[in-house]
């Protein structure tokens, strides 16, 4: 059980980091048919042409502010609400199991949530791939926050699998006891 708790502790901590750390980096460029004018534009419009990083939270704020409230809400749901809820439910189920109780409903929820695992990372990845090829050669790169976020999701998946395995063992023991 200690391993599952440890995994959940690391997963929670890295989730917190992943939400606020820079997830993607935008690099504005201007490449025309006859050459690369990025440096000239950098000199002319330094504010507009500087490289900037966005965390998940900042990305959501920008989208909300830009009027894409639906997408902002979707990303907020899948990238923040969903992983936090998943961790809380896993934590509850692990606690029940550690007290030698059957996790019951919590485990069923965890198994259902497992189907949506990595969907949060997937949403961000799709976003990056979608806007990667901006006109004029501007680029978007994944930043370190995305990898930390992915680690958090992977750790919670492993914790979920281990928990399910332990819960089945517990059920088998209970069945034998009866």
């Amino acid at each position: 059980m200690k391993r599952i708790f440890l995994l959940l502790i690391f997963s929670s901590f890295t989730l917190g980091i992943g939400i606020l750390a820079p997830t993607m980096q935008t690099e504005p460029r201007l490449t025309l048919y006859d050459g690369d004018y990025t440096e000239v534009m950098n000199l002319l419009f330094p504010e507009e042409f500087k490289t900037s990083s966005f965390s998940i939270i900042e990305g959501i704020q920008h989208m909300w502010g830009a009027g894409s409230k639906g997408i902002a809400a979707l990303i907020f749901g899948f990238s923040i609400v969903f992983p936090v809820l998943k961790l809380l439910i896993l934590w509850m189920a692990t606690l029940k199991l550690s007290e030698e109780k059957c996790p019951g409903r919590s485990l069923k929820i965890v198994e259902k949530l497992g189907k949506f695992s990595m969907v949060d990372v997937f949403v961000i990845s799709v976003l990056i791939v979608t806007v990667k090829g901006l006109p004029g050669g501007s680029q978007i790169h994944a930043d370190w926050g995305l990898y930390v976020f992915a680690v958090s999701v992977v750790l919670s998946i492993i914790a979920g699998f281990m928990l399910a395995h332990r819960a089945h063992e517990r059920e088998l023991l209970d069945a034998k006891g009866k």
């Binding site: 917190g16 606020l20 750390a21 050459g35 004018y37 440096e39 509850m92 926050g145």
Partner: protein, 219 residues
């Protein structure tokens, strides 16, 4: 109740991770760029590019019946251009701006040289463009005294004199210098002048940067 309380552990860890990230990634106030034009005094031994970015002239046509009061014979607004003279010799003449009471100029001809400008900034020396040709400014020393002559171009007769101004470069500052004239007189048909002074640094990039910024500030 006990289980709910225990939920504070993962929530606390998430907040702890987020808090630490916010602490370490908080954006520091951006440093002032080293190349930004400051309102510095003129170094008398240095070379400067001086150009007029704007001349605003008085509307002389107070009485349409009197040709003496019109800038142009055909009731058009003046066709403004200026000359910069050093020790009585013309060192720069601006392009003409037709039919306007507010004439503007840039210190650099960007559209022609955009591609070459990129090459120059990148340090590509194998280009067939004389960099000085894309600069629309006079080149003077910091201790010079120049005379600015402003005219309304006339195709038929001599150009009308809008005004004349003697300027000590040392009295100016780097960047934009605004001069105003409230008294319209025989030799002062101008209302406001903006003179830009840009130090000519060693490298092309150092030189281009302030000029481009000056140009950008005009927008």
């Amino acid at each position: 109740m006990k289980n709910l309380l225990s939920l504070s552990v993962p929530i606390g860890l998430i907040l702890c991770g987020a808090g630490m990230t916010a602490l370490f990634t908080s954006k520091e106030p951006e440093q002032e760029e080293a190349v930004k034009i400051e309102e510095s005094t003129i170094d008398e031994s240095a070379t400067y590019y001086v150009f007029v970015s704007e001349i605003e002239v008085f509307n002389k046509a107070l009485d349409d019946d009197n040709d003496e009061d019109d800038w142009d014979d055909d009731d058009d607004a003046p066709d403004v251009f200026y000359e910069i003279k050093y020790q009585g010799k013309k060192i720069f003449e601006s392009p003409q701006r037709d039919n306007t009471f507010i004439a503007n100029w840039r210190g650099i001809t960007l559209p022609v040289a955009l591609k070459d400008l990129t090459s120059m900034i990148k340090g590509d020396v194998n280009i067939n463009v004389d960099f000085e040709q894309i600069v629309n400014a006079s080149r003077v020393k910091g201790d010079s005294e120049i005379t600015l002559h402003m005219y309304d171009h006339d195709n038929v007769t001599f150009s009308d004199n809008i005004g004349e101004l003697t300027i000590n470069i040392a009295d100016l500052k780097e960047g934009t210098n605004v001069m105003q004239n409230s008294n319209r007189g025989e030799n002062s048909g101008w209302k406001q002048i903006e003179i830009k002074v840009v130090k000519r640094e060693g490298s092309v990039k150092d030189f281009l940067l302030p000029l481009l910024r000056e140009m950008n500030n005009e927008h």
